[in-house]
Symmetry: C2
Subunit: 153 residues, 2 copies
DNA sequence: CTAAATTAGTTAGCATAGCTAACTATATTC
DNA sequence: GAATATAGTTAGCTATGCTAACTAATTTAG
């Protein structure tokens, strides 16, 4: 009985620590990756949106905004930036002229994949001190996080 | 021999996927947590800097900038914002009047801990679908990530 | 002991990225 | 056909990142 109580308290403390760790680790990781991503000449929001287009295919603006958890005006500006750099092409939907269809251009796909390679090389060089097992456990942890993000409310 | 080659290729593919997953998961997690953190009335950069002060004690501006991996002008502005809200107190170093000593005020410490509680409750409510084992594995993955961040180059 | 060089921080100015409110243009409904 | 609803855009605010150029204080050279 006392043991159950202790475990509950322990779990609470762990969740608290886990939340803090997750927040802090995510912030510091992104600060470092951002420096690499800047070498592509585009900011993180643009690269993330482009990634959705490259891996998920064409999207309307509202779909893209929802995927990126951002409001339409914000996505409108992100897409405008990508279009100015010719990384995406924007066309009207013939069925409904209010909608726009946003597609990655070959240039956009190429840039994303180059950035991805650069990021991987950078990350890999920093993860290589980890043992094969640790890398596997990290990957496993990320998958659990992804699952939690998918079922977020 | 061929098997070793396959394993290397496999490792490369895994690193690539791991890097992408990590990037994407970090971005999407922070977008969600940001909404909670905004309820404190302060942005993520300020909260993160405040957290360093609360858990790491007083710091000079340069120390804080290094801890947060940003340039001094950026940290200068973050501290100015925190000081305006009376969340930190700034004083000159008597030994070296160029340096400033930045400390969390009781109000700052309180706000951080309230935000932390809110974030934990939010995270916990979203992580509660995970099994106890999954939560433990997630925590383990984060610790590996933290280790990698500590040894970053 | 002053003059030059270095160091710590700030200020100014630019870009990205988030938001809400208010607008335009197109579709839908009554 | 007029009112309403929906998809995006524009305008304007805040926060956060940067570099370049500045001020003030300390340290070092001569």
């Amino acid at each position: 009985m006392a043991k159950v109580k202790e475990e509950l308290a322990e779990l609470g403390t762990q969740s608290l620590r886990t939340a803090d760790q997750l927040h802090s680790a995510a912030i510091h990781l992104l600060r470092r990756l951002r420096k690499q991503d800047l070498l592509t000449g585009e900011g993180p929001a643009r690269l993330s949106a482009l990634s959705v287009l490259v891996f998920g295919g064409p999207k309307t603006l509202a779909e893209l905004a929802a995927a990126e958890q951002v409001k339409p005006p914000t996505m409108s500006r992100i897409v405008a930036g990508l279009a100015r750099s010719r990384l995406v092409a924007v066309s009207r939907d013939p069925q409904d002229a209010r909608r726009v269809r946003i597609v990655s251009t070959p240039k956009g796909t190429r840039l994303l994949q180059q950035g991805r390679r650069r990021r991987i090389e950078y990350l890999a060089s920093n993860l290589e001190r980890l043992s094969h097992d640790e890398l596997e456990e990290l990957r496993h942890g990320i998958e659990i996080l992804e699952k939690a993000l998918r079922h977020w409310r």
